[in-house]
C-alpha cells in the first residue's frame, strides 16, 4: 500500500462513545407506563480521546475491565461508529479479535479458511495461493478436510490465527488472542507477529498480559474510565497502569464470599500492608503483606488450618502454603476467627490473585470447610524485571 509515511495510519480526534442502556422490559409495557425515557441510562465508554498512530508503530493498550479498551478496538476496526469525533484508519484492517470468528462447526477446516479469509478481505485466488502456508502454520494438515467441530480448541485457535495473519493487513488489531493455544504455538505466533511488525504493519495490542505488551510494543496507552490517562513509552505506561489500578481497586478491597461451605463461612479475605495495617491492593516489590482471613464456624472445628495460594492472572501458581502441621486453636460453632499469614511479596510487576481456603486438620489429612473468593492485587515492580517471581537479582562485574 502506498501510504505516505508522514501521515498517521490511525487518527482519532475528540472521539467519544456513549452507549444507551435500554431497559429489558418490552417496549409496549414501558410505553404504557409512560416512563420509558426516564429508565434509559447512558454509559460513556470513551471520553474525548485523541490518538495518532504512525505507520509501523506497535502500540499497547492497558486498562482494567471496563476502561474502554474493547470499545477502542471496535472503533478502530469500524464495527461501531463514535458518538462524536472522527476516527480515521487508513488501509486494510484485520482484527485478530477472538480468532476463528465466523468459523462454522459443520464446515471443514479448508472450507472455513475460505469463508474466514474472505471475511478478512482476501480474494479467492489469494487464499488459493496461501492455503498451503496457512495449513502448514496451523499444523492441521491431516485434519484440514474434517469439520472443525472435531478440532481440539488448540487446533481451532491455530487455524484462526493462521488465517488472520495470512490476510496481510496494514493494521493488525490484537485482542487477548495469544493467551490461548499451547506454549510452543504461542511462541510461533509471537515470532510471526514480530515478522509482521518488521514488515511495517501497524499493530495495536489490547491485553491484560503485561508481558505481551512489554515484549511487543514500543509505546502504550493507559485507559481509565474511558479516558486516556497516559500515552508514552511502554515501561512508563506499565508502571502508570499499576498506579491507576492500585487507586481504582480501592472499592474491591475485601473479597467477600464463600465458594464452598461445608462447616465454616468465609466472611472476608483481605490484604494488608504489614507496616501500617491498612487494607490495600497495590504493593511494591518486597513489601511485607498480611493476608487476613475472617471465618465464622458453623460446626465445632478441633484443628482449624488455613491454606493460601498466590497465582498470576493467567493461573500459574507462584506460591502455595498451609499450616496443616501446626493447626490453630479449636473454634466453636458460631465463633468468629481471624487468621493471618505474613509474607514478603517477591513478585515482579503484574496482577496477581490471592485465594484462601479453610480446613480442619485430621491427622495429616485435611477436610475442606470453606474457600474464599479470590482477591486480585497489583504489584509495581522494579523496572525491567519480568517473570512470575522477583528473586532480587543484582549485577556486578566479578572478574578482571
Amino acid at each position: 500500500m502506498s501510504v505516505p509515511e508522514d501521515r498517521p495510519v490511525i487518527s482519532l480526534r475528540d472521539v467519544s462513545k456513549r452507549y444507551v442502556k435500554y431497559d429489558d422490559q418490552p417496549m409496549l409495557a414501558n410505553a404504557l407506563k409512560l416512563r420509558a425515557r426516564s429508565r434509559r441510562s447512558t454509559l460513556l465508554a470513551l471520553d474525548n480521546i485523541d490518538l495518532d498512530i504512525a505507520k509501523g508503530e506497535s502500540v499497547g493498550v492497558l486498562g482494567r475491565n471496563g476502561a474502554g479498551k474493547s470499545t477502542l478496538l471496535q472503533l478502530l476496526c469500524g464495527v461501531t461508529a463514535p458518538s462524536t469525533g472522527v476516527v480515521s484508519v487508513r488501509g486494510k484492517v484485520a482484527p485478530l479479535i477472538s480468532v476463528g470468528v465466523g468459523f462454522h462447526p459443520e464446515l471443514t477446516g479448508r472450507e472455513n479458511v475460505y469463508v474466514n479469509g474472505t471475511i478478512l478481505g482476501m480474494k479467492s485466488a489469494e487464499i488459493d495461493r496461501r492455503l498451503d502456508s496457512i495449513i502448514d502454520f496451523a499444523e492441521v494438515e491431516e485434519f484440514i478436510d474434517t469439520p472443525v467441530k472435531f478440532y481440539s480448541s488448540g487446533m481451532f485457535v491455530r487455524l484462526g490465527f493462521s488465517v488472520a495473519v495470512a490476510a496481510d493487513p496494514d493494521v493488525l488489531l490484537v485482542d487477548e488472542v495469544l493467551a490461548v493455544g499451547d506454549f510452543a504455538f504461542q511462541l510461533k505466533c509471537f515470532a510471526r507477529m514480530q515478522e509482521i511488525r518488521a514488515q511495517g504493519t501497524t499493530i495495536v495490542v489490547v491485553s491484560h498480559n503485561i508481558n505481551v505488551i512489554r515484549g511487543f510494543c514500543d509505546r502504550a496507552l493507559v485507559m481509565s474510565h474511558g479516558q486516556k490517562v497516559f500515552d508514552g513509552a511502554t515501561f512508563d505506561a506499565i508502571s502508570e497502569f499499576y498506579n491507576v489500578v492500585g487507586r481504582e481497586a480501592k472499592e474491591d478491597l475485601y473479597g467477600v464470599g464463600d465458594l464452598a461451605t461445608h462447616g465454616a463461612d468465609i466472611e472476608s479475605l483481605s490484604l494488608h500492608h504489614a507496616g501500617t495495617g491498612e487494607p490495600v491492593l497495590h504493593f511494591d516489590t518486597g513489601d511485607e503483606v498480611l493476608l487476613r482471613l475472617r471465618v465464622k464456624a458453623t460446626t465445632d472445628i478441633a484443628n482449624p488450618v488455613m491454606g493460601m495460594t498466590i497465582t498470576t492472572e493467567s493461573g500459574t501458581v507462584v506460591y502455595s502454603d498451609t499450616n496443616l502441621m501446626t493447626p490453630f486453636p479449636p473454634l466453636q460453632t458460631g465463633e468468629i476467627g481471624e487468621y493471618e499469614m505474613r509474607l514478603v511479596l517477591a513478585l515482579p510487576s503484574g496482577g496477581f490473585l490471592a485465594t484462601a481456603s479453610f480446613h480442619s486438620a485430621d491427622g495429616g489429612n485435611s477436610v475442606l470447610l470453606g474457600r474464599a473468593v479470590p482477591v486480585t492485587f497489583y504489584v509495581s515492580g522494579r523496572d525491567l524485571t519480568s517473570g512470575v517471581a522477583d528473586l532480587g537479582g543484582s549485577f556486578r562485574r566479578a572478574g578482571p
Binding site: 476496526c77 464495527v79 461508529a81 479479535i97 472450507e111 474472505t118 471475511i119 469439520p147
Partner: protein, 264 residues
C-alpha cells in the same frame, strides 16, 4: 453504501454458498433434499388434485391444470416465505460476526436472499417438469419465470433491508412477520385465481392483486397456465412495495449501519 456492498460481493457469494451447504450437512441424502422436499410437494399436489379432490375444476380448465396453477404460485411463495423471515432478522442473527469485524450490515440480508436461490431454482425446474408432464406443456412464455424470480428476489431484498433494520430496535418484528405470513398465504392469490373475483368483487380483487406477493405469483402463472387479467396491477403494485420498503430500508441501512452493533 453501494460501493461497500459491491466491494463485499465475493463475501456474499461465499457466504451464500456456505449457508446452502451447511443446511444439508449431516443429512444422509445431503443436497438431494434440496430437490426432494419440493419434489414431494409437487407430486402430492399433482396427485391430490388430479385423483382425489375435484376442487380445481371450479378454478381451472381441469384438475391437472389446477395442480400446475397451484404449484406455479407455491414456487415463488415458498421462496418469499422462507427467505423473507430470515432476511428480516438477518442483522440480529449475525451478531457474533458483526461484533468482531466490519462488513456492510445489509450483507446478511443479501446473503439470505441469495442462498435461497438454490432451492428456488430447483423449484422452477420442477415446475417446468410438472407443466410438461401433468399440465398442458410449455411455450416460450415459460421464460417469464426469470423476471418473476427476479421480482420475488427484489421483494425479499427490499423487505429484508427495511425489516432487518427495524428488527434491531423492535424485536417484535420477528413475530409480526410470522403472523403476517400465515395470514398472507390466504390473502395472496395462491390457491384461488384473482380472475374469479373480477365480476363479483371488483374492489376485493384489486386489493388482493395489490398485495406485495401477488406480483411474482402472477408472473409465474403467466409463464405456465396463462396470465390473469390482474397481472399488470399485481406487478405494478409489487414494484411499488419494493420501492417503498427498499427505499426506507436503504435509507435506514445507510444511516444506522455503524451503530446497529451497539444494540445487538
Amino acid at each position: 453504501m453501494l460501493r461497500e456492498l459491491w466491494a463485499a460481493r465475493h463475501l456474499l457469494v461465499i457466504l451464500a454458498r456456505k449457508d446452502f451447504y451447511v443446511r444439508y450437512r449431516r443429512t444422509v441424502l445431503g443436497v438431494v433434499w434440496a430437490v426432494g422436499v419440493p419434489l414431494v410437494q409437487a407430486v402430492v399436489l399433482a396427485l391430490v388434485f388430479t385423483h382425489v379432490v375435484g376442487i380445481g375444476r371450479s378454478y381451472a380448465a381441469s384438475d391437472h391444470e389446477y395442480a400446475v396453477f397451484l404449484y406455479a404460485a407455491l414456487v415463488p411463495w415458498n421462496y418469499i416465505a422462507n427467505a423473507g423471515p430470515t432476511a428480516s432478522t438477518a442483522i440480529v442473527d449475525n451478531v457474533a460476526l458483526a461484533g468482531k469485524i466490519y462488513f456492510p450490515r445489509a450483507l446478511p440480508v443479501l446473503v439470505t436472499a441469495a442462498s435461497a436461490i438454490y432451492p428456488f431454482t430447483i423449484g422452477i425446474v420442477l415446475l417446468l417438469l410438472m407443466s410438461v408432464v401433468v399440465g398442458s406443456g410449455i411455450g416460450i412464455s415459460f421464460l417469464l419465470v426469470i423476471p418473476g424470480a427476479a421480482l420475488a428476489m427484489l421483494f425479499v431484498v427490499s423487505i429484508g433491508l427495511c425489516l432487518s433494520a427495524l428488527h434491531v430496535y423492535f424485536r417484535d418484528i420477528r413475530y409480526i412477520v410470522m403472523a403476517v405470513l400465515s395470514v398472507g398465504f390466504y390473502l395472496t392469490p395462491i390457491i384461488y385465481p384473482l380472475e374469479k373475483l373480477q365480476d363479483s368483487h371488483h374492489v376485493l380483487r384489486d386489493l388482493l392483486a395489490a398485495g406485495p406477493a401477488a406480483g411474482p405469483i402472477e408472473i409465474f402463472r403467466a409463464a405456465t397456465v396463462g396470465s390473469d387479467s390482474a397481472l399488470g396491477l399485481a406487478v405494478t403494485a409489487c414494484l411499488v412495495w419494493c420501492v417503498v420498503f427498499g427505499g426506507v430500508g436503504f435509507w435506514l441501512q445507510c444511516r444506522r449501519d455503524r451503530v446497529f452493533v451497539d444494540l445487538l
